[in-house]
């Protein structure tokens, strides 16, 4: 067996395991068996004999017990346990590689590992692993073909392998682009876990922003085709009720948004002057949709959208995968509704804040003057700090911030200002979202990180919701390096063109290619609901087909391997066009086989069959091997 073939098998096994390894959620202890691949493939490299059958079988049975233990106790997750099991089997198989079929089993197992990995990660590293896998698989299968033919040494493989690999890559891209997409899948759910965020739930405990402000994980990437506004406030949701320690969103009613053509219309205004943002958001643990200012329209590949009347927009559920959408926003202040008295709610036992507010705003007459004074006061007299000591027992955290520590982060400032505004008779609310972001010069998009999580205040001034941000500027964190920015631009492309590629992209692509020559007919969207029934029918039909197939095998197995192989051979000849009836004797079979040009082997096969069936004694082990070998090779 050529060494390159061994190397490719090892590479494919390692690629499959690496595909799983990069996903993250696997248990490190359960990954230890992967180390078995090293001695396994070193043995293969050195042409050492495969491990004994009983050892391989014992290890395989042990792996199944380990799998049950893993699925029930260690990880408690069947899917992850299957991933661990494939790694164990890869390691065992590396000690048991004899025939080309054994190598093919490794390829299939690696393929299974990649499929499992694709459900656990969306990382760009998967793309790299996939390309390595594809090239290695194509090369190995071409070599396997020549090995099977016995012509490996007579062929210069570089040219066919290179050409076929390139063609496979190109056609893979073609199929990937053209395969019809089902919006949101049918019944499956992704297992990718979302980023843990703060501030985007119905109840936000005071102090929850502290942790995320230190986290540089990327949450969003935003492309803005037009001019980028000077201030970037990526609005998420609003919180209207403060109970002394937590903010709550008490607007429970969410209205479904109407959709016209491809756009969910949140506010009935013209989109011509709207600020357009193409947003790619990572899976997060919230259903909030972010955008600048007030989102008035949104183009998104979801079945429905909701809004709560405060300008916050919600997806139907937390998205397990990256969302890509185009938000149309107006940056002007939005009018407040008539019913704004809820935004004057003030918790009891915080009267000290009232007196404090009065002092600061004593000379101010209008709402805007009062609000600006409070904002300026907080911005200039307090320090930005993520290190806040917990307040003394019995002290309210806001009072502690305002009167004792005088240092805090956005949450402290926004809460203090909102409460002070309310005390001054100005309806106000907290807005959570992200502020700012860094522009990536490789790709020209904006990166928004967890550390950009922010909360600010909206207050009703002259019957319009006006934004105030009392938080003083935060110290700049370490700027990302240029290579990391470049890699991130690649990541965006990966998400944009691979992970989030959808039916809309297909339509756009077709339009782009064919315009202006052909008018493309409207391509119907394939929706999940109608396909569920079809899916279940296929599932049941598939299950029945597999059951019938297995039952037929069991029926054949009843006869023992000699007769079973003979019957298979009969069926094979019949398929080839030989005249075989129920009454055909072994001699007839041999004759029919010779007509098909397989006389020598067929005669030997039939002779051994007759010897076993009618000879009155069992075949010797050599004869059995020969019988099996002829049966395998003759077809």
């Amino acid at each position: 067996m050529p060494r390159i073939y061994k190397v490719l098998t090892a590479l494919l096994a390692v690629t499959g395991c690496a595909g799983l390894f990069i996903t993250g959620p696997l248990n490190p202890v359960m990954l230890i068996p992967a180390l078995g691949l090293i001695p396994g493939y070193i043995r293969l490299w050195k042409d050492m004999p495969p491990a004994q059958k009983w050892i391989v079988n014992s290890l395989s049975v042990s792996a199944l017990f380990l799998f049950a233990f893993d699925a029930l106790i260690v990880t408690g997750d069947f899917f992850i346990a299957v991933a661990h099991l494939t790694i164990v089997f890869q390691a065992i198989k590396s000690f048991d590689l004899k025939e080309p079929w054994d190598h093919l089993q490794v390829y299939f197992m690696s393929l299974l590992q990649l499929i499992i990995a694709s459900e656990l990660t969306r990382s760009i590293v998967f793309g790299a692993v996939f390309i390595i896998f594809l090239i290695a698989l194509v090369t190995a299968m071409v070599i396997s073909h020549f090995l099977k033919e016995g012509t490996y040494r007579k062929i210069k493989l570089k040219m066919p392998v290179t050409v076929i690999s390139i063609l496979t890559l190109l056609t893979t891209g073609m199929f990937f682009i053209s395969a019809p997409r089902v919006k949101g899948g049918i019944v499956g759910k992704s297992r990718v876990t979302g980023i843990k965020t703060a501030g985007f739930s119905e109840k936000v405990a005071f102090g929850s922003f502290g942790e995320v402000k230190l986290d540089s994980t990327i949450v969003m990437r935003v492309e803005m085709p037009e001019k980028t506004p000077a201030q970037l406030y990526w609005r998420g949701m609003t919180l209207d009720y403060f109970d002394g320690t937590s903010w709550l969103d008490t607007i429970k009613k969410r209205d479904r948004v109407s959709k016209y053509e491809n756009i969910f219309v949140i506010l009935p205004v013209s989109l011509d002057n709207a600020t357009v943002q193409k947003i790619f958001i990572e899976p997060i643990d919230s259903d909030v949709i972010f955008g600048l200012g007030s989102i008035v329209g949104i183009e998104i590949d979801l079945r429905a959208m909701f809004t709560d009347g405060s300008g916050a927009v919600f997806a139907p559920e937390k998205s397990p995968k990256r969302l890509a959408y185009t938000a149309y926003s107006v940056l002007e202040e939005q009018p407040a509704s008539d019913n704004i008295s809820d935004y004057l709610q003030f918790p009891s036992k915080l009267e000290k804040i009232g007196k404090f507010t009065d002092e600061i705003t004593k000379n101010s007459k209008t709402g805007i003057e009062k609000a600006s004074k409070i904002e300026n006061y907080l911005k200039t007299n307090y320090k930005y700090s993520l290190k806040t000591a917990p307040p003394a027992a019995g002290t309210n955290p806001i009072e502690n911030f305002l009167f004792n520590s005088k240092a805090g982060y956005c949450e402290h400032y926004a809460t203090a200002m909102a409460l002070m505004l309310r005390r001054a008779g100005i309806p106000s609310r907290i807005v959570t979202g992200f502020a700012g972001g860094e522009k990536n010069k490789y790709g020209g998009y904006i990166i928004v990180r967890q550390s950009d999580a922010h909360s600010w205040v909206e207050a009703v001034i002259d019957r319009r919701w006006k934004r105030f941000d009392p938080t003083p500027p935060a110290p700049q964190f370490k700027m990302p390096s240029l290579p990391s920015l470049y890699i991130d631009s690649l990541r965006l492309k990966w998400y944009r063109y691979v992970v989030n590629f959808n039916s809309s992209d297909q339509k756009n692509l077709i339009s782009y290619i064919s315009m202006p020559f052909v008018k493309i007919p409207k391509i119907p969207e394939i929706r999940i609901d109608g396909l569920k029934a079809v899916f279940y029918i296929f599932l049941i039909a598939g299950f029945m087909a597999i059951t019938i197939f297995l039952l037929s095998r069991i029926k054949i197995r009843r006869y023992g391997f000699v007769t079973a192989d003979y019957m298979r051979f009969r069926r094979y000849l019949k398929r080839k066009g030989a005249k075989i009836t129920a009454s055909s004797t072994p001699s007839d079979i041999a004759e029919e086989a010779s007509k098909l040009g397989m006389s020598e082997k067929a005669f030997e096969f039939i002779r051994l069959y007759e010897m076993a069936r009618f000879g009155g004694k069992e075949l010797s082990s050599d004869q059995k091997e020969r019988y099996k070998s002829i049966n395998k090779n003759i077809r």
Binding site: E119, T121, F146
Partner: protein
């Protein structure tokens, strides 16, 4: 085009991945599905193109004898301008029942490969239908193209070592003379060295000039004659008849190579006395296609010159009456 065993597994795996992709809507599974589909597509396209514009030529390098390994020269030409052809199985399913694999044929070129076959019966075999088959590049699908090839190959009866069969033949009575002619000192010709020639007869000067071993042929003009009478008159005795034919061919081969003039007499066919390889193949041609006949129509034993060997199928053969005129009678069942 049909999927192979591996191909069926691959197709099933693709189907399952397709279900998974549509079920989850996960683009990374669509990516894997696209890879599987592209491998299937390329298997089909490359396989079709691989077998396109191929032509076959067949030739036999040496005479073909029953039960002897026959080597055919298979010349496969690829008329495609760019793409080479790989792993082409050439099969002739009927008659010749030969098969060979041509690993590589460059574009606008040809490759010659040996194809071995062993025949169990003498006769004329037409090339007929042959098949190009390939599973290149991934062994997922098998495609074959059938085409007709004109021409034929004649398979001669099996040549056996007659010394072992009839030891008497090697005795001096029959094989004392290893030259074409009776012994004598008269110079006849200079010819190529043949098996059995004395080394002392080699003409070294002429050999050096021609590059071949040449011997001086001397003797008288009286040739040594051998008549082979083959009993092919019915009733049918298939097994004995084949033995008789094979023995007749072996006899002709042996004695012509010894320089004898040999003739063959059968029911309806007479090959007159002659010598040399050309004459040997005249006899072998006749023996390759000979059948059992109803009547004896050949004028025989009118003048039995030289040695006569009668080969009978059985003790009850109608031809037994000719035995007294022959130097030797051989019964095929004893062979």
């Amino acid at each position: 085009m049909r999927p192979t065993k591996e191909g069926i597994r691959f197709l099933l795996a693709t189907l399952l991945i397709a279900v998974a992709a549509f079920n989850t809507g996960n683009n990374l599974i669509f990516l894997i599905l696209a890879m599987m589909l592209s491998m299937i597509l390329l298997s089909v396209v490359i396989l079709r193109y691989n077998l396109k514009s191929l032509t076959l030529a067949f030739s036999v390098a040496q005479p073909v004898f029953v039960k002897n390994r026959a080597v055919f020269k298979v010349s496969l030409s690829n008329k495609k301008k760019l793409m080479p052809s790989y792993s082409i199985h050439v099969t002739i399913p009927k008659g010749i029942a030969g098969q060979c694999v041509v690993p590589y044929v460059p574009p606008l070129s040809h490759t010659i490969t040996d194809m071995e076959s062993t025949f169990t019966k003498r006769g004329i075999y037409r090339y007929g239908d042959f098949t190009f088959e390939s599973t290149f590049p991934f062994s997922l699908f098998r495609k074959n193209i059938k085409a007709h090839l004109g021409g034929e190959v004649i398979v001669y009866p099996e040549i056996k070592e007659i010394d072992e069969l009839i030891p008497e033949l090697t005795k001096t009575d029959y094989t004392a003379h290893t030259t074409r002619h009776a012994p004598g000192d008269e110079f006849l010709t200079i010819r190529e060295f043949r098996y059995g020639d004395s080394v002392r007869r080699i003409q070294w000067k002429t050999s050096a000039k021609t590059g071949k071993l040449m011997v001086k042929d001397t003797g008288t003009d009286e040739p040594r004659l051998l008549t082979i009478i083959l009993d092919n008159i019915k009733p049918l005795h298939a097994e004995s008849f084949e033995k008789a034919v094979s023995f007749a061919a072996s006899l002709a081969d042996r004695f012509i190579r010894l320089g004898f003039f040999v003739r063959l007499i059968t029911c309806k066919k007479l090959i007159p006395f002659g010598s040399g390889l050309e004459h040997l193949f005249k006899i072998l041609d006749a023996l390759a296609v000979i059948d059992e006949d109803d009547t004896w129509e050949c004028p025989m034993m009118d003048e039995m010159h030289g040695t006569g060997v009668l080969i009978l199928k059985s003790d009850e053969s109608a031809l037994k009456k000719a035995a007294p005129a022959c130097s030797m009678v051989v019964y095929a069942p004893d062979l």
